[in-house]
């Protein structure tokens, strides 16, 4: 599904990614841990085709993103700590905008489906600027999944979420993943990260320094591995 070979990224004189090799199978749930500045978000942006790598090749669903990028866009959804939502528009208008841009069929029905999934159907006509942080992040989940993407990228999605929003996010991710869709998540939260994952990675100083199946791995073991691999406190 996603194959990255020797991906490098230089910004100015600084090398952010130093040769990342990664293979993510269809339906796999990958969680990435790593310290701040390790290159996690840069890798996510490259995999989500929001940024071009300086070197290496990236193939998504068999399409090389260097010259067939148009065929891949639209199969990707992104949830980050920013909501990518327009404050002045209502929840419905935001979803309608993104839905139309993605060419979603039966849009009105789909909008109310995703709003129900994130528990915001009652607030569909309210401007986003009146939403709490948790509500905005729930709407961001709806926004990212309105077009039913094949791959979902999440960059620290638990930041600033209340317990209800965390449960909704986990439920959406679970439903999403069991439909054989791929998830790539960056988080600092070991419990949440391990709970849903098939595979975990640790990135440090622009390199993948640890990779293993998540099955049987407990959060405290992961913390030990993390401290031994990256150094310092969690």
């Amino acid at each position: 599904m996603i194959t990255a070979e020797n991906i490098t990224k230089k910004i100015g004189s600084k090398t952010i990614l130093k040769g990342i090799d990664l293979h993510i199978a269809k339906g796999e749930f990958i969680t990435v841990f790593g310290p701040n500045g390790a290159g996690k978000s840069t890798l996510l942006k490259i995999l989500a085709i929001l940024m071009k790598p300086s070197g290496g090749t990236l193939t998504i669903n068999g399409f090389n993103t260097n010259n067939e990028v148009v065929k891949v866009r639209g199969q990707i959804g992104v949830i980050s700590h920013q909501t990518l939502l327009y404050d002045s528009l209502t929840a419905y208008e935001n979803l309608e905008f993104y839905g139309r841009m993605y060419g979603v069929d039966n849009l009105r029905e789909r909008i109310f489906d995703v709003l129900q999934e994130v528990g915001l159907e009652y607030a569909f006509n309210d401007p986003v600027r009146t939403f709490s942080r948790g509500m905005q992040q729930r709407l961001a989940i709806a926004r990212a999944t309105i077009h039913q993407p094949e791959i979902l990228f999440l960059d620290e999605p638990y930041t600033g979420l209340d317990q209800q929003a965390i449960e909704i996010l986990n439920s959406v991710l679970h439903k999403f993943n069991i439909k054989d869709r791929t998830v790539f998540m960056i988080t600092h939260n070991f419990e949440q990260g391990l709970d849903l994952s098939d595979k975990v990675l640790i990135i440090s100083k622009g390199r993948i320094v640890y990779e293993r199946k998540a099955a049987g791995l407990m959060p405290h073991e992961m913390k030990d591995v993390y401290i031994n691999t990256v150094g310092g406190k969690v």
Partner: protein, 225 residues
């Protein structure tokens, strides 16, 4: 999704958003009105000088007010990182450029439609040429300005002093279209006809076409940076 449907959706979103906030239009209109009033106080409407500088005054008011709007054009997309959302949902990034250019043009035309009659009234100026020609030069001149301005606005938005940077990088680039628009406007308001202005229209037309196609092609790379 169809390329043109995506552009239409983006324009509709911008118009709906502006209808709620009125951020761009109000700032453009206030600035245009202030410029107009200041010029009307500074120059005596009866003098010959005013007849000579009137076309320039029209375009100075339009361009400065337009800069105010352009500064906000991509500023709104910076909130909540909405520009990333646009990059994700558009198959071709040229859609963003064309959509934003059309939205900015609509806002400019609204502002110009209100400001232009007020300028004529305050300066007690009677249009001697064709109104249709005057409208055409305003429409085409504004198109050239906005085509370059939208591109530069996207470039400047992520810089620390974007509101200062935008006019600095934009003004040198719009010199050809500005000169042509001022000259053509001058000829038209003083009674000139199509034959007198055709060469200026050619300059404006060439500028519009070149500076719409080139930014459209380069926009993908601009967003990468």
């Amino acid at each position: 999704m169809n390329y043109f449907n995506q552009i239409a959706t983006l324009v509709r979103k911008d118009l709906a958003s502006e209808l709620r906030t009125k951020e761009m239009l109000s700032s453009m209109l206030i600035f245009a009105m202030l410029t107009t009033v200041v010029f009307s106080f500074a120059f005596d409407p009866d003098t010959e000088t005013v007849k000579k500088v009137f076309p320039g005054i029209i375009w100075v008011a339009f361009i400065f007010a337009g800069i105010m709007g352009l500064n906000r054009s991509f500023g709104g997309e910076r909130n909540n990182d909405c520009i990333l959302g646009l990059m994700l949902c558009t198959q071709d990034r040229g859609v963003i450029y064309l959509g934003k250019t059309i939205s900015n043009l609509v806002f400019m035309y609204i502002m110009e439609g209100i400001t232009l009659p007020i300028l004529f009234v305050l300066f007690d100026y009677r249009l001697k040429g064709s109104l249709l020609l005057l409208i055409t030069v305003v429409l085409l001149g504004t198109w050239g300005f906005i085509a370059v301005g939208t591109f530069m606005s996207a470039m400047a938005v992520n810089t620390r002093n974007s509101e200062i940077l935008l006019p600095i990088v934009l003004f040198p680039l719009i010199v050809p279209v500005l000169i042509a628009a001022v000259q053509a406007t001058g000829i038209i308001v003083n009674g000139g006809n199509w034959a007198d202005t055709v060469n200026w229209f050619r300059v404006i037309g060439a500028f519009d076409v070149i500076f719409t196609i080139v930014p459209w092609l380069l926009f993908e790379y601009l967003l990468e940076v």
